[in-house]
Amino acid sequence: MSLRTTAVILLFTGSVLKSNAQFSGNNLAEYQFGNIPGVEPKDVHSIYDQFNLEYRLKNFKVSGRLENFYSTDTARTHYTKITQYALSYQKKGLNLKAGHFFETLGKGLLFRGYEIKNSIYEDQIYRVKQGFYRDARGVFGSYSNKYFQIKALWGEPLINQLPINDPNNRLDMVSAAEANVTLLKQTAGFIWMQNENEFETAKYLSAYLGGNLFDIIDYYGEFAFRTNEDEYSNAAEPEQSYGAYFNLSYSSPGFGVSFELKDYQNLFIGSGISDPPTLIKEHIYKLLNRSTHVPYFFDESGMQVEFFIAPNDDHLITVNHSRSKNEIGETGYKSFEYFADWQFTTNTVNQFKIFADYSGDELLFENARYASGIYYTRTLKQNLSFSIETEFQQIERTFSETEKVQNIYTGLIFNYSPKFSAALIWEFTNDPNAADNPGTEEIEDTQHYPGMNLAFKPNRKNTIQLFAGKRRGGPACTSGICYEVLDFKGIELRWSYRF
């Protein structure tokens, strides 16, 4: 077929289909100059790019993702790779996918895929950057209507701690099916799942019941357990590998409460394909987000209760309490947290956020952590505002003797929405775990982290962000997923483009 004939056919079919077909996508590019403070070489250039493209025709979608990473540090792996591709069909209750997909079974006790949009993950061992997601490569199908839902999947989940071009980053093979029935606002369901890898075949069943009572009370309970013996380690009998999760909530205008219970035993499946609810408060405040308890899915039990009080549009009070217990060997470790947060507005132009937190985590030898902070935002003109943010935390840590360490965060932010924002950030710590630089001979007992963030949005499609300075890393939780962020010193330029 000649080019001319093909073009005519394409234009004809294109004009017929033009009411439904479209390309869309986005690109995220990041350039960094610098490194982890104290790590040689200091002057590393690196570029990461993620390009997502999809073509939609009626209810069909074809999508692909291209990622590439290059660094002047030759010790790091460089790659250019199509890391995702998928064909999907979605109409009303029918959803079919082939290729890479993200899905959750039940509440994630057995299996959950996820993606943290717009985030770049850098592993501290390989120092390779990649998008932060855990997809599965295979096939997925579901159908739902008012009375029932059925789901089936077969796929290889990604081990996202390994570089994206590592040939061994998909060692598990998951087959699963889920079905539930809904009647009178009550849903009962079952899940069957099998995970195979080179060490063993693990089989699981799960049952759940959830629903709504009198419009104001919602509940959900799920119990998942292993049905065959652990062939790999023989460490756990089937009945010793299970997960139980329960939540009860009350919702009314101005007041809401959520109560949750968990008991997870040997529920770390395969390379870590499950993601049970953690029952740990996910904080929006920097220092608290960093001090989060990381669940230990081999043995973790506990509870969480959270209250929302909103007497009017200008006030929101959130109170949270959580407790958890881990048993490692013969030793039990407890963690707890009490948190209260009050957000309010005065005279329509002054916004305040005030919080107080008291917590402890025996796994980290942190008997007590006290934290508080205040965020103030003042609207100067319609879309011009400035914010002052400050947080303080003291941690009491006991190994052989008790040491008290402090962390401080402050930020000054000017915002001309939606075009431009500028932030000056300063953090301080005298925590030896964070302050000491292993790359130097002397022992540093304090560390300052000054930095500047600029964001420019020339139009609705493009966002450009610049960071310069030193940034503190540590554990971070976003979108329910916790991971380790590395310290950084240098310049970072990000460009996001959506089309």
Partner: protein, 160 residues
């Protein structure tokens, strides 16, 4: 051969660039665990889809403002759909939080981010406005003081 493929590729892009999207014909669970069709929630003139999460600071700040905007513009033919993207970790808090905040527009749950991918959303909150044919006519990412007036101004323009 490469020349031909390049020409065809650009032709395809040209065709697609003049195309019109359709309103998503899919069903999702609402916060009361009912399966509902997005088409049933479509606005007469415009449909506003707001993607948010309980752990997102600007999302929480935006909710009372969006509530007021919704009450003001619903009689003018603009419907809102709130799309909550919380995963299992925070899902049990979504309804108590949303009800306590008196969100008056319909809320659907998107824990696996199917609708997020459909609209190519990468930051939260993101507000996408669709016209009566389902074509995206406005997008607003993030939420800062004063944005409520920018949104109102944009709605007025789109309603003209």
């Amino acid at each position: 051969m490469i020349k031909k493929i390049t020409i065809l590729f650009f032709l395809l892009i040209l065709i697609s660039s003049i195309s019109i999207a359709q309103f998503p014909d899919i069903e999702m669970k609402d916060i009361d665990q009912n399966w509902i069709s997005l088409e049933e929630l479509k606005g007469e003139k415009l449909t506003v889809i707001d993607f948010w999460a309980t752990w997102c600071k600007p999302c929480v700040s935006s909710i009372p403002k969006l509530n007021n905007i919704y009450e003001e513009y619903a009689p003018k033919g603009i419907e809102f759909i709130g799309v909550n993207i919380d995963g299992p970790r925070n899902l049990s808090k979504v309804k108590p939080f949303a009800t306590s905040m008196k969100i008056s527009y319909p809320l659907v749950l998107d824990p696996d981010q199917n609708l997020v991918d459909r609209f190519n959303v990468t930051v939260f909150p993101t507000m996408i406005v669709l016209n009566e044919k389902g074509k995206e006519v406005f997008i607003h990412e993030g939420f800062n003081p004063g944005d409520e007036q920018l949104i109102r101004d944009e709605f007025e323009k789109l309603l003209e």
